[in-house]
Subunit: 187 residues, 2 copies
């Protein structure tokens, strides 16, 4: 198979497995068996596991970038953008949990470069939420920034939490939680 396709394929699978089992738990053996190639072949594309891990974080970053650029061009209301964000991020998680959450949970086991990447992803996600929420905020400007930031943390925590509970308890609590969030946003 030509170079870029295989590389992309490996990153896609690694991303999926990170959502399912986490960075620490995935192995070149897992990847190679699921792709029908040998471990050595994966090592050709990503010499070290850290290299693959970094590629996955960059893939996650691209997803956030593409969402940000699509949302800034549109003329939706805050509520619509927030809904859009939620739907898209949930879809990006497939059957697993949020990959950023997964990497945060493994944080202390990650190589230094990946720690840095996970920090950046976390901040990027917050920045996107803050961008969305700032528009809808029409209170005193001094308090606004701090409140919007708090709200961004809350929204992200709730989305990630809903995915965790869905997997653990087999119950989709997202609609309920979104109702809570809408009440907060509308204040």
């Amino acid at each position: 198979m030509e170079k870029e396709n295989r590389k992309t394929q490996i990153v896609d699978l690694a991303l999926q497995l990170i959502r399912e089992k986490g960075y620490v738990a995935i192995s070149y053996d897992d990847l190679s068996k699921q792709l029908g190639v040998t471990k050595a072949s994966i090592h050709y594309h990503f010499e070290k596991k850290e290299d693959l891990g970094v590629a996955v974080t960059e893939r996650i970053g691209q997803n956030l970038e593409s969402f940000l650029s699509s949302i800034t061009k549109s003329a939706m209301t805050v509520e619509e953008k927030l809904k859009q964000y939620t739907v898209r991020q949930i879809a990006f998680c497939g059957e697993g949990i949020c990959p950023i959450s997964s990497l945060q949970s493994d944080f202390l086991s990650l190589p230094d470069l990946m720690k840095q990447k996970v920090k950046e992803l976390s901040q990027f996600e917050l920045k996107i939420l803050i961008t969305i929420l700032t528009e809808g905020h029409n209170k005193d400007v001094d308090q606004a920034a701090e409140e919007v930031e708090a709200l961004a943390y809350t929204v992200l925590s709730c989305i990630k939490g809903a995915l965790q509970y869905k997997r653990t308890l087999g119950k989709d609590v997202l609609p309920q939680i979104l109702n809570q969030l809408n009440r907060l946003v509308q204040l």
Copy 2:
């Protein structure tokens, strides 16, 4: 060292390491080196890693039990109980993240018995929050149960999220998030 002390010591350390690195990432080698004994000695107390994992989940359960019994006896307001819950759970997490969150993230890698225990812990935690929040809810009874449940998921997600962000970004966002939660509870 006598039997029960050592056993307790091992569970305590395992719990701490689960908060820091997760169940998958901890090893008998870690544990033995930090305790100054051999791996074989740990295996004497917990023959298989799963046995130790289950013991840790039971330890987490005891913490929840003890909180529940302390809170049901007291005559605090909903806000006070919620604050109390938060402070105590945050303290229980030490320098790491919530151990239940950590186990949820590793869910698909856990042995079956541990999966079951993590489910029970998740439900127990929800039950406690629902107990606390139901008292303060004075709306239409039909809607109350569903709303309180949604609020419970939200509160738990926010506490766990705050711990994740604290570790990843080195910033304590808990006070900000708690303000958001208080706004929700007071509606």
